[in-house]
């Protein structure tokens, strides 16, 4: 699914992200436990800032297939078979958008986008990705609304 990148480079990048994630986590925990290190409320800004770093790292790890979604590999696809660099770049965007959707619905949306982009003519692929990216956030809102309705009106569940 990804453009042909040197796998060693990719692995190094992933290791660096994991190291950053763990370091930031360790600092947050130590700061939270030992609040005396910072005077007054300064430690709060530290904790908040580092929490943001952790969230950012977690999201980027997700986007690169570290945690879930795996860049569309969820349906049995091998990494390294998408050649269009621009689309691959935007694929990260699609993965990010799928994260703001409710879990199963987001996975289905991503899998369907993957299936569609695989078969669509190369010349139309960039426009198709753009259309997914443009409609994604609004669709996420709709999906969450459906989720909310399910909570309010429990009944037969529609497929996610």
């Amino acid at each position: 699914m990804m453009p042909a990148i040197d796998p060693r480079y990719d692995a190094r990048k992933k290791r660096a992200r994991v190291a950053m994630f763990i370091t930031a986590g360790a600092i947050v925990v130590s700061s939270a436990l030992d609040g005396t290190r910072f005077s007054g409320w300064r430690w709060v800004t530290w904790v908040l800032g580092l929490t943001l770093i952790i969230v950012f790292c977690a999201i980027s790890m997700n986007a690169s297939g570290g945690l879930r979604g795996s860049l569309g590999c969820g349906r049995g696809r091998a990494v390294g078979d998408r050649s269009d660099g621009l689309v691959a770049h935007r694929w990260h965007g699609l993965v990010m958008v799928s994260r703001i959707m409710p879990g199963p619905a987001g996975r289905r949306w991503l899998a369907e986008a993957d299936s569609m982009l695989w078969e669509i003519a190369a010349a139309q692929r960039a426009a198709a990705v753009r259309s997914y990216l443009v409609s994604g956030p609004r669709l996420a809102a709709v999906m969450w609304a459906y989720e909310g309705l399910r909570w309010v009106r429990p009944g037969p569940r529609h497929p996610g």
């Binding site: 349906r75 899998a111 369907e112 299936s115 259309s131 997914y132 669709l139 609304a145 309705l149 529609h158």
Partner: protein, 108 residues
């Protein structure tokens, strides 16, 4: 949440109604309607949520087929009836407006 019958929704319904028993996958629908896939998907999702459309994943081995599985959509029996009625209802005011325009009534 009610279904708003926008032009795009009508296009999707028309494409599905051409052969209500036939299953269509996203790209096929997109080509048939001229809509971008990102536009067609939310419509299909809404139709599915309303119970007009049903969908399923294609049962294939992606490695053997050398492509990911497709998601197939089809009108339900009730959905086909409702879609036909809705399209007929949507056409009526438009036809009336066009007739009025042609007669010069709609021009201020």
């Amino acid at each position: 949440m009610g279904l708003r019958l926008t032009v795009q929704v009508q296009l999707v319904l028309q494409a599905l109604l051409r052969d209500p028993a036939k299953e269509m996958y996203g790209l096929e629908l997109s080509e048939e309607t001229g809509l971008q896939p990102g536009t067609a998907y939310p419509i299909l999702l809404r139709l599915e949520h309303e119970g007009w459309v049903t969908s399923r994943w294609e049962d294939v081995d992606p490695r053997a087929e050398k492509r990911p599985a497709r998601r197939y959509y089809r009108l339900t029996a009730g959905g086909a009836v409702q879609a036909s009625a809705a399209l007929a209802g949507a056409r009526r005011p438009r036809d009336t407006a066009l007739r009025r325009l042609a007669q010069g009534d709609g021009i201020a």
